[in-house]
């Protein structure tokens, strides 16, 4: 029984490592490509208590993404919790989430015809995971929203 549990654990760990690395690489490739394509449209946090620049239209755009932790990252982070320090495996996860959410918002705004996106804000939320009784792998949601003007 113990042997089987260890085998399942190792299997999940290896699966998590390889699939997690593969998806992360692919995701980063797509993020970099799309960021280059959308670079010409300014995206700024300006606008909270200031008036927006002169424009015809303004509209709210939201981009949200949910990314799951893989088993390898989860175990790695659990070990890190015991030792302390930067949880680097999760940093890349959140970085991906943040950039993907911004991209989704920006792409939508650009399709609408926005020439600027003002007052951009970011939020995160944890889904499942270690909070409460659910101890399975968790996910993180990153939401980006801003005002597109044209």
């Amino acid at each position: 029984m113990d042997g089987l549990e260890i085998l399942i654990f190792l299997f999940l760990l290896i699966l998590g490592y390889f699939s997690g690395t593969y998806f992360e690489k692919r995701h980063y490739k797509s993020i970099r490509e799309r960021e280059r394509k959308t670079l010409h449209v300014p995206m700024v946090t300006f606008g909270a208590k200031q008036s927006l620049p002169e424009a015809q239209d303004a509209q709210l755009f939201v981009g949200s993404v949910v990314i799951s932790v893989d088993y390898f990252k989860m175990i790695s982070a659990t070990l890190r919790n015991l030792v302390g320090g930067r949880v680097m495996v999760y940093e890349s996860l959140l970085d991906r989430g943040r950039r993907e959410a911004l991209l989704r918002m920006k792409e939508e705004a650009m399709a609408w015809g926005a020439n600027q996106i003002m007052n951009v804000r970011l939020e995160t939320a944890a889904i499942g995971g270690r909070s409460g009784n659910n101890s399975g792998p968790g996910s993180v949601e990153v939401i980006a929203y801003g005002t597109g003007i044209r």
Partner: protein, 295 residues
């Protein structure tokens, strides 16, 4: 107010450190394993140190508490208990005392087993009484358990289990679902049956044999029970129910060899006649019964 947006040449990359997840993982795993091993071993020694020093009254209280968590079917008010208690009491050398009075608990079970728990609770399964063929064999099994008790093995094992439990709780293993106190009690009870270390087994073996010789004047037949069980186990494989005795008392071939060698070194007499068991030991109250219809 004019702010000019200057388009960067390439998108900002964020501040995620480039690192090798595998190396990072290996480093973490190594650190955690080494530190917890050191803590575990240190706490284990502390538990051993403490186990020998707790007062018999405290041990009795702990033993009683644990005893109530065991739900096996106990036979009370049986003449066999009296017989076993007398046999057990005859084993210590003259002048040797036990720190607590020992209590025999006869458990109705078809699994051959015997065990001792903190607080001097000795468990004898009825199947053991059917499996032994002479009093010498039974005396050795009882003396072996007595040896564990005299060496404080049950409390040491309990202390180590508690250390293990606390450590695993700290790591969040094994508390995932129900959690809380009932889980802890259940697990502690479960862990008290953990086998003793090889060293503890050897010491108990030696003690057992010396007390058997003390009683019968020779060590012959005392080890027959082991030999027979081992042969049976080898013949019929591990599926045999009987094998539980070995899961709590791991028997390697060299256990008997070591005992024989020790006996030869100390000049113990290893030849002699077996003392027969009471005729109806396998029947309730030792009253005559049908071989298969008993209990």
């Amino acid at each position: 107010m004019f702010i000019r947006y200057k388009q960067p040449k390439k998108p900002p990359e964020g501040n995620v450190i480039k690192h090798s997840p595998l190396l990072n993982f290996a480093y973490l795993l190594g650190t955690v394993v080494i530190i917890s091993a050191v803590i575990f071993v240190a706490l284990g020694f502390f538990a051993d140190w403490l186990a020998v020093r707790i007062s018999p009254e405290t041990e009795r209280k702990i033993g009683d508490m644990l005893f109530h968590t065991i739900s096996d079917e106990e036979i009370v008010d049986d003449k066999r208990i009296q017989y076993l208690e007398e046999l057990l009491e005859s084993l210590p050398e003259s002048g040797e005392t036990t720190r607590l009075p020992l209590t025999i608990h006869l458990i109705k079970s078809d699994v051959v087993n015997a065990a001792i728990m903190a607080g001097g609770h000795v468990f004898i399964h009825t199947a053991l009484l059917e499996a032994v063929e002479s009093e010498n064999e039974l005396a050795f099994v009882l003396a072996h358990e007595l040896g564990h008790f005299q060496n404080h093995d049950p409390t040491k094992s309990l202390g180590r289990s508690l250390v293990f439990l606390v450590a695993s709780m700290a790591l969040g293993i094994g508390t995932s679902e129900s959690g809380g106190v009932p889980d802890i009690v259940f697990r502690t009870g479960e862990l008290t049956s953990l086998s003793y270390s090889r060293k503890q087994e050897r010491a108990a073996d030696l003690y057992g044999l010396s007390r058997a010789i003390n009683r019968y004047g020779h060590g012959s037949h005392s080890l027959d029970f082991f030999k027979r069980l081992e042969e049976e186990e080898q013949e019929q494989g591990r599926l045999l129910k009987v094998s539980q005795y070995f899961s709590t008392h791991p028997l390697s071939k060299d256990r008997i060899v070591i005992l024989n060698k020790a006996a030869a070194e100390k000049g113990w007499k290893m030849e002699g006649d077996a003392k027969p068991l009471p005729e109806w030991l396998h029947c309730p109250n030792m009253e005559e019964c049908e071989p298969d219809a008993e209990e």
